[in-house]
Amino acid sequence: MKNAVQKKNILSAFAVLLSLAAAAQPNKPGIDEELFRSLHGNGSMNVVLTVIGIILAGLFLTLFRMDRKLSKLEKEIKEKKS
């Protein structure tokens, strides 16, 4: 019970802090520079590079699995011939 009350107090204090922070912001739309740097460092170019990396990794994984399957097949054909 006491714990829950404490939790509520902390939450409301946090809400007050948040609203204060919001009020302290100069009221202007758009993203300011720090926000831009923290969210879009490098203008979001790193996301593009990660996306390319994921695609290449996925395709190489596919290639690798196909290669393994093919080796198995080759072995079977070899056994058949001998």
Binding site: P26, N27, K28, P29, G30, I31, D32, E33, F36, L39, H40, N42, G43, S44, M45, V47, V48, T50, V51, I52, I54, I55, G58, L59, T62, M66, K69, L70, L73, E76, I77, K80
Partner: protein, 365 residues
């Protein structure tokens, strides 16, 4: 009159597609990574909440701009938006570096609207405009507005560049990598359905192998599209997954195709397996078309994807001509890569089939 048979056309395709695949992919990669983004204004910080109580300065943060190198032609002005826009020029311009700038303005009374648009102009970057850049808390309307008429020489910067868009910024380049994944998936799944129908016509197991390999390759591309899309959403929409019709539709599609794999592996008898998976695949395909092709485009749905829920996609706004130059080759390249992977898998399955057939023959003999 020239008669071209399908077989001859297919032969030409078979002989040339790998070459085109490589060329188109190279074009897509080179353009997608190397072409710069057009200059733009990322943020404008006003020193005061009021534009009327006294002179104020605005700190401008630009992207890919040339504030310092094109200093001589630099001008800045704010425009009171509304029915009759009025420009107020900066009295002094303090250039910090190529991307940072401080503009000083005289007191301005907001005529129509509490919002001001900001324009920074120089000959190298052209006209850079930021909508609703400065907001004022002033309630005074009318009064002294120092108006001016700035002269602009170049509307736009003159080198080839991708458009500058807020929040997207460089991540716009994912257009050449994330979007073609879906084009490839849909192409392969369509090919699968064609072969499912061909299979159901004469129960030739060859078509079953074609369809099955097209589906497995399509699933690979679908999963890659899902993962890369999730990453892109994290940066632009602030969440790994958002409640969007298109996202949920693709999730259901992927699950239904994964269920296809489970269904197929659960059956021993080859003919039965082929027939049931052919019919299941046709249903799954129709579901996919409805879920990702029709439902998100309906009026009244809400989607963050361009081209859905009332958003335009292939319009001049979303897909700029500079993007198209590389987008279409990139799509063709990725689709052909999908076809390439599919064809290798199909030929491998043929080999396996021949081996199994030889085994049956030797057992009988």
């Amino acid at each position: 009159m020239v008669i071209v048979s399908w077989k001859a056309l297919a032969n030409v395709f078979k002989r040339s597609y790998k070459f085109f695949c490589i060329v188109f992919l190279l074009i897509g990669f080179a353009g997608g990574i190397l072409v710069p983004l057009a200059p733009g204004i990322i943020s404008a910080d006003s020193s005061s909440l009021s534009t009327f109580s006294g002179p104020f300065t605005v700190k401008v943060f630009g992207y890919n701009t040339h504030f310092r190198s094109a200093k001589s032609s630099l001008q800045g002005w704010i425009t009171n938006e509304g029915k009759q826009p009025v420009n107020t020029c900066a009295t002094s311009v303090n250039v910090i570096d190529d991307t940072h700038l401080e503009l000083s303005f005289p007191p301005v009374a907001p005529l129509n609207d509490p919002l001001f648009g900001l324009t920074v102009y120089n000959d190298a970057d052209g006209r850079l405009y930021m909508n609703s850049a400065i907001a004022t808390t002033d309630t005074v309307r009318g009064g002294i507005v120092p108006a001016c008429n700035p002269v602009v020489k170049n509307e736009k910067q003159d080198h080839f560049a991708f458009p500058f868009r807020y929040i997207l910024y460089e991540s716009m380049r994912n257009l050449f990598f994330h979007v073609p994944m879906w084009f490839t998936m849909i192409a392969l799944l369509s090919w699968a359905v064609v072969n499912n129908l061909r299979f159901l016509r004469g129960f030739d197991m060859k078509y079953d192998r074609m369809a099955n390999n097209a589906i497995t390759t399509g699933i690979i591309f679908g999963l890659l599209g899902l993962i890369t899309g999730s990453l892109w959403a994290r940066v632009t929409w602030r969440a790994w997954w958002v409640d969007d019709v298109k996202l949920n539709g693709t999730a259901i599609t992927m699950l239904s195709y994964l269920a296809y794999l489970v269904l197929r592996n659960s059956m021993e008898d080859e003919q039965k397996r082929a027939r049931i998976s052919a019919i299941y695949s046709i249903f799954a395909y129709v579901m996919m078309i409805v879920l990702i092709g029709v439902l998100p485009r309906l009026q009244g749905t809400d989607s963050l994807h361009p081209g859905n829920g009332g958003n335009p996609a292939f319009s001049s706004y979303d897909l700029d001509n500079s993007l198209r130059v590389f987008f279409y080759p990139a799509v063709a390249g990725w689709v052909l890569l999908g076809v390439w992977i599919y064809s290798v898998r199909y030929r491998m399955s043929n080999l396996k089939e021949n081996l199994a057939a030889a085994e049956v023959k030797s057992r009988i003999a």
